[in-house]
Each structure stands twice: as C-alpha cells, then as structure tokens.
Amino acid sequence: MSTIVKEKVGYVGRAMKRVEDPRLLKGLATYVDDLRLPGMLHAVVVRSPHAHARVRRVDGAAARALAGVAGVFSGADLNAHCGTVPCAASMPDLKAPKHTVLASDRVYFVGHPVAVVVAATPYAAVDAAEAVQVEYEPLPVVVDAEKALEKGSPLTHPDLGTNVAFTWHLAGGDIDAAFKNADRVVRQRMYHQRLTPMAIEPRGCVASFDRGSGTLTLWTSTQIPHLVRTLLPGMIGIAENKLRVVAPEVGGGFGSKLNLYVEEAICSYLAMRLGAPVKWIERRRENAAATIHGRDQIGDYEVAVSNDGTILGLRNRTIADLGSYLQLLTPAIPTLTGLVLTGSYKIPAVRMDVIGVYTHKMAADAYRGAGRPEATYLIERLMDLVAGETGQDPIELRRRHFPKPQEFPFPTATGLTYDSGDYDAALRKAMELARWDELVGRREARRRDGGLFGIGVSTYVEICGMGPSKAMMAGGWEWGCVRIEMSAKVTVITGATPHGQGQETSFAQIAADRLGVPIDDIVVLHGDTSIAHYGRDTYGSRATAVGGGALVMCIDRVVDKAKRLAAHLLGARPEQVEFQEGRFSLKGGAGRDLGWTDLAAEAYVAKNLPAGFEPGLEASAFFEPENFTFPFGTHICAVDLDRETGKVTIVKYVAVDDCGNQMNPLLIEGQLQGGIAQSIGQALFERTVYDENGQLLTGEFTDYALPRAEDIPEYAMGATVTPTTANPLGVKGVGEAGTIGATPAIANAVIDALRPLGVKHLDMPLTPEKIWRAINRR
C-alpha cells in the first residue's frame, strides 16, 4: 500500500536546488584525497610503458634504499595474497586471463601495474617509484580487434591460444524469412569509437586496518561501496563483516567507478600487512591509461526492408574490443547493446552475433550508457540510412514503426517488455519546440545558398532502472531505511550510492511529502556500508527507480507503525486512524491529533506502548523491481558546417525526454544537460587513441578532447510524462538518457548536412578533418 499525499504543498515535482551543492561549491566537501590519517603511508604504482612484454626482473633495491620508503612490492610479493580481479558477467564460452593485482611474468597493456611503492610522503613515494628498475622484453602487440581475429595475429594472452574472449548470440523472430522476403537490404559498417570516461576526480583510496578489532576500513572513490564490500573479501580474505567500505564525496564516475580495481585490493592488503593506513591517489595519466574505457564496437549491420518501407528484420556481426582483460562487467556491455538494438521500433526479427576480442589495451567496461549508446546510435543511423535508400522521410519512417501507446507493455524481438511509452507524443513535442517547418525551411534556404546545413533526429528508448534480480548478476534490488529520530528529525538511508545525481535532495523531497515533515528536518545518508548496511549502489540509472522504491516501502512501514501507536494513544483501532500531512487523527472525527514529535517521543521513551509494540520508529526494506524501465524521448539537432574547414556549429538543440514521473525537474535537466554534453564530445571529437605499438596517445587532457563550455549550445528542453508501473514512484531513470539519445541526433545532423554531396555515413568522431575529407572526397 502507498501513503496518500495531498497534491497541494508537495516538494516532489519542484525544481528545488540541490542540498549537495553548497558544500561542493564552497570547497567543504570531503573527497578521498582530503583524508589524512595518523601514520598514513602513500602508495605509488609503477606501471608498464610497454603494451606487451615479458617482465624479466623487478628490482626495488635502489628504491628501498631511499629515505622514507616503507616498502617496494612486486607481483611476486603481493599476488599470492590479493586474489584476482573479479568479473561478474559470465558467458558460456568465456576465456578469461588470470588477472592478478600486479603483473606476474607478463604485462599486457600500457599502464599495467608492475610494482607498488609505499612511503611516508607522496613525494618520497614518487621518487622511489622512479627508482624501481624493471627489465622488460617486448613482445608482439595487437591493438586492432579485427586484426586480432586474423590468422597469425599476435595473441594478447598467448596462454589462452586465441584472442576471442567469448561469442554471444541474440535471436528473436524469423530473421531468415525477414531477409528472404526483403525487397532490399540496407547495409552499413559502423565503428563506435573507444572513449575515456575522464571523471573530474580520478580514482583514489585509503585503507586503514584496526589491529585490535581486526576490521578494515576502505575509503574509496567509487560508485559501488556495497559491491566492493561483497567482492573484496574474495580477493584479500577478510570477512565481509570485518570490512567497512566508504565512498566519501565522489567527483564523478560515469561508470568508470563501477568496478573493483587492483589498487583497492593492494592498499587494503598493504594496510593490514604494514599496520598503517595506506593512501593511493590516481594521477590523470594513470586515470587515462588504467581506469576502464568505454564503447569500442565495430560491426556490419544489415536491415531487411520491403518496398513499402517496412523494416522486416535487423542482423549484424559485432566485434567488441574488450581490451586486455575483464573488469567487473566487461563482457556484459555488448549484450546490453543487443537488448535494445531494435530501439523504439517494431522490428519483428533480429539477430546479433557478438565476438568479444582481447587486444593490448585497457579493459573496456561500462561508460555512461554502457551498451545502449552503441545500440541507439546504430538503430538511429540505420533508420536514416533506410529512409535515404527508400526515399522516405526519416520522421515518417520512424513514426510508422513506433508501437502505439495502447500496445504497451510492448514485447520486443530481443525478448524485453517495454513498460510504457508514447513515442509519438515526445516526437511531436520536440518538433514543436524545434519549430520543425521553420527549421526545414532554413535548411533548404542554406542549401540553395551553397551552405551545408543538416537536421538530425533520434527517437530513442533505453533500458534502465536496473533491475529485476533474475536478470542481474548479483541482485538488482535496493535497500533503504527510514528512521524517525527521537527528536522527530528524519534520517533516510539509501543503499544506492549517489555521487553527483542529487538524491540527497530528491529523496528528501519524496520523504518530506510522504511523511509530511519540513524538508530541512531530513538528512539523507548513503555511501558507507556501516550506515547503509546493504545496497546495490548507483549505475544503470537505477538509484531513484529502484532505491526510491525501497524508500517508499520504508515510509509506508514507518507510517503504518506510527498509526498503530497513534491509535493506541488516541484510544482507537489502527484502521480508524488517518494520516495526513504529518498528522495522525481519527477518521471523520475532530478531536485530538498527534504529530511526529508526539509519536517519536513515545516510541523511544517506550513507557506507553501498545502490547507487543516494538520500541522505535524505523523501518528498512528491500525493493525488488518487477521489470526494467524504458525511458524514451526525441532529440533534434541542427548543424551548420563550414565548407572550407569542416567545422561543425550546432545551431539548434532540442531534447524532449520522458523519464516517467519527475521528482525534481532541475535534477533531471542537469542529468540530461551533462549527458548531452558527453554526447557532443563523442559525436564530434572524443576518441581514445593507441598507436600500433599499443602506446596510449590520449593520456592527458592535451590530447583527449573533452567538450568545453564553448562547445555546448543552448538547449531547448521539454518533457513528456509516461509513468512506469515497475516501481511505486512511477519513475524511469534519467542518468544516462542524455548520452544515449543525443549522440545519434548530432551524428545524423552532420551526415544530413553532407547528404547533398552524396555522403551516406561517416564514423564518429565527426572531426572537422573527417568532414573536410568527405566534402572533398579525399
């Protein structure tokens, strides 16, 4: 059951400013690097400059001799104690290298940790790291996933005997019939480039061991303290209940901190071994080289189309470049691509064959959107290609293939059930905001003048609110707790671990409305496993959709319990008590009413409780969602190209997103704006580059092109609201929608601008040089 809330004074739905922001803006937030513990030592990791080499010798003698050095450790010293880095995604034919915390006899990517130096100051540690002598014997390197599949290619892991990590297939509907009956087949090869997440705060951790109690505390810049607490014991052998993991303020993750990394295990182990706290702070170049990358899929895509423009089926072979080993979810990412490959369209048959390939690069894993940006880009590019080849209007082609609102829940050929949607409503609204006819007129006018002006559309749907436990690796539920303190202040605890998304604000809004208390009385706690005992953390746009579900359950339970106490104090039965705006009173009747202050005091003083009533006013709950959620929307982008230089100017950007019920539109807009900015980066200039020897050439901001303020156009943003039934708040999630929906709109716009020149497709990033080459057919 759910509490009834009167519409009038609600906090929910209001664009409230984030309670998180003042501390961030004033520099009062505590990040991992702000932690200073007595006797703390500093670790620096010595990393391989080679992409593939045999490690002949690691000599720490010179480093050990330096002042302040507490220890120098190689794989031989640590690997036996630190287990292997876990991967939670399994595949039937998965071949995985043994991923120890430090290299043993071989390094297989630039940045591979080879040794770790621990010293009294970070300066001494850096000096000592430079003094560690490592002798390498370079081995043959492969960095191109397609070449890695060729016969005679160097092997990323010679011991595995192959570069193929796994194969995965997805099939739905009758794909052979679709292609047999097709009047034409539209084909395109597409490459989804590798990206570096580049969170503003690199990773870092501090581990501290309390010898007396035998407990270990790990502060780490992570999205997933709870998953770390689940997984780290398996590496270093500490009991789960002797491990506390804390994610203090986290300066961005975007999926890159949805992982358990070797440094966390190394610092934890060394803190126990050395009996002193050990801190490690990642430097930017390490972040670029040894924190997961995203995307990197290449494939051949084919669409079966009938003469009247109906899409009959979609098939492809995709090569996923995994890099050199598996992080937590590496093999799962391309499977997410497969699941939403048919996008927001009725496509009756689909087949996807994925080959996961090892190359001598950093592991790829979940980067904001994780698999869905790839899918959305593919299907939205293909829709434009189909429209172009069949002479249809790209908007009409999309419309024809939308499921109608009454067709939801809508089953897809990929085996999902889309919860709810009105795709055409979002499209209409976006076209309205974009002043579509005017925009098209502008394009025609520019074209007449010899200009290159293009309009791109993306009508995306994505999968989030992860997720039902039966479909997840290790539980998809979320945990929460609501406590009315003795003073009637309210403490909300969530197992989701927000790190910039703003749930300290939105959860307070939800709780304030449902409990009828002032929002200032609420504190939202998270990110510490000794406070939020259980949780599955933040990724896959799940914190509000799933964590919010747990919050509602807790509130309902607390209110229920309070009603029983109120009934006792008012001399009535619980069914007779009515709860409204924070007051408990008898239904229909006037008379005395009670507030949280009265009830909290009674509940904890506990001198006048009903029989069998447990003291206290607190409830915790696990919420298990029954389905994923499927946010959707339409993005429209218009670009003007400089014919001489190929430079792209975004002249209009419209986003209409439907993430179900909106708890706080300001947070939603913020998530979308950031997501679209990342999409601009991916569509127009970001890419991670390794040279043919496996050297990382985009190791710093001087070479890795992140979008800046000047690259961001003014957005016109709108929304439609189609609630989901998958959770009690009716929310769908919005953390990744921007990066999923926007990229194809931008790419489609640029390619549309080049259409008069006969250009059908270009791979991202659409840099000025690439555009210039396309214009001049060079």
Binding site: P122, Y123, V126, D127, E130, R283, R284, E644, T645, K647, F685, V689, L697, T698, F701, T702, D703, Y704, A705, L706, T767, P768, E769, W772, R773, R778
Partner: protein
C-alpha cells in the same frame, strides 16, 4: 604529479639572474609564468636542479610606446596584453593573439617571453611575432643583443636564446590592419593552425606568420611575394593564400594530418588577409 627535488632562487636584478645562470649552467632554468615549465617538471620531463624565478626582476613588465615603436617586456602576461589600451590602439594584433591563448588562468599566468622561449610549434605568439617582424632583445653574460623574429625560431622547442641568456623585450612597429585566425587543436586549445597577417595597403605589402603547421613557425614567403606591389583585392588575396604551405613539411599527429594542416594554412591565411585588409 610531483616535480623532482629542486632549489629555488628569486633574484632581484637581471645581473643577479644572469650570474645564477652562468654559475649553474644547464642545471638551472628560468621560471616565468610556469605554465609550460611546471607541467614539464611535474611530469619529470624537466628536472632542473635550480629554478630561477624572474618574476621580481625590474624592467621586464612594461608595455611602452616609444617613437612609433612598441616595447613589451618579456614578463608581460597574455592577459595584460589582451587588456592593454596602448596595444589595442597601436597594435591590435597582439591583443587579438593574446585573447586567443588558452583560458583565463593560462592568460593570467603565462608570459609572452616564456611563450616565445618555450617555442611550442603550436604556440600562438610566434605567428604574431613573425607577422610583425619583431625584434627580440636578449641579455647574456656578454651584454645585450637583438635578434629578428625571422632568426628567432631555430627548431622544435628551440630558439636563438642560448642557455645562460634571458629574453628581455619584444619590439614591434605599430600596425593597424592586421588579423589573427586560429583553428584550435580541440583538446589542448593550442593552434592546429594559427595565421597572423599584417597588411600595409599603402606600401602594397603583407606579412604572414604561421604557427602550428610546421615543426618551426614560419613566414609565408610565397604568399608575401605574390602580393608584393599588388592591389589587395579579395581575389588576389585568396589566390596568394594558396601558397601558404608552399615548401613546408607540415606536422602530422592524431589531431590533424599534414594535408589538413596545409589546407588550414591556406584557408586561414585567406581569411586573415581578408580580415586584415578590411580593417
């Protein structure tokens, strides 16, 4: 990101600075705005034993107009140049180029002297210095000498300033009709191609300095020759700009091929000349 250990000195006079340099030789480095040196030290690509901070030296921080010439001290920051009224009136090219450098923090710290001596082939100042045909005054143990812009840039990250010397002043002649057109390298903001043009319509002469394109910034001699004595019409400017990369071997990296850099040199030269001619 910690530099290797080093000593620090902050001399008060030029002579003091020069004698520190001659005493410590190759082990000493001058520190100006620190926006190239400090990053290199933090990456340990530069490990000087002694850092000589010239931030307190007198006489390196002025912008002065002297008989139709302008003198800019080596320690004048990009931001000071961008905000200078004197330069806006007499030599707007310097203001335009300064404004195109990095971001506000970089402009507030970085100096024109440090930039020129660092001689990053993608730095912005070289284009302007070449187009203005500047003179550069250098102090050394043997006294002062003057080098012309054309002889200043000798290699990648190398200039006529020898170890033990200090760049003191940059001198240019006032020039009104000028423009700077820059295509940024998307990640760093440095110049993928920066073209500075100075047009003298009466004398029917132009000067074009190009940075970012070749390993060493250069004057587009062929362009200048083609326009010598010509009326500066749009068509002739564009045609001449076609020579902007003649005879150079352009740089190539992950951000732009040699072809594209050469193409940008031509396009930006045409644009810079046209803009300069219209001023």
């Amino acid at each position: 990101m910690f530099a290797a250990p080093f000593d620090y000195a902050r001399p008060k006079t030029l002579d003091e600075a020069l004698s520190l340099l001659s005493k410590h030789g190759d082990e000493a480095r001058l520190l100006a705005g620190g926006h190239s040196l400090i990053p290199a030290m933090k990456l340990r690509l530069a490990q000087p034993r002694l850092v000589v901070d010239i931030g307190r030296l007198d006489g390196l921080r002025q912008i002065e107009a002297r008989d139709g010439r302008l003198a800019i001290g080596a320690m004048v920051t990009h931001a000071e140049i961008a905000a200078s009224r004197t330069l806006a009136d007499l030599c707007p090219l310097l203001v335009e180029v300064a404004s195109a450098i990095g971001d506000l923090q970089v402009r507030n710290k970085g100096t024109i002297g440090g930039s020129l001596v660092h001689a990053d082939p993608a730095g912005d100042w070289p284009a302007a210095i070449l187009a203005l045909d500047a003179e550069i005054e250098i102090a050394g143990p043997q006294g002062r000498r003057t080098v012309t812009a054309g002889a200043f840039f000798t290699g990648i990250l190398e200039t006529a300033v020898k170890p033990g010397e200090i760049l003191c002043e940059i001198r240019v002649t006032a020039a009104a009709a000028s423009a700077y057109v820059k295509t940024e390298q998307k990640a760093s903001g440095f110049a993928l191609c920066g073209v500075a043009a100075v047009v003298d319509a009466t004398a029917r002469r132009v000067r074009v300095g190009i940075t970012g394109v070749a390993p060493v910034p250069y004057r587009a001699a062929a362009v200048e020759r083609a326009l010598e004595g010509q009326a500066l019409a749009e068509g002739s400017l564009a045609a001449a700009a076609g020579q902007a990369a003649a005879g150079v071997t352009p740089l190539a990296d992950i951000h732009a091929s040699a072809d594209y850099r050469a193409h940008l040199a031509r396009v930006n030269t045409a644009r810079a000349l046209q803009r300069a001619a219209s001023r």
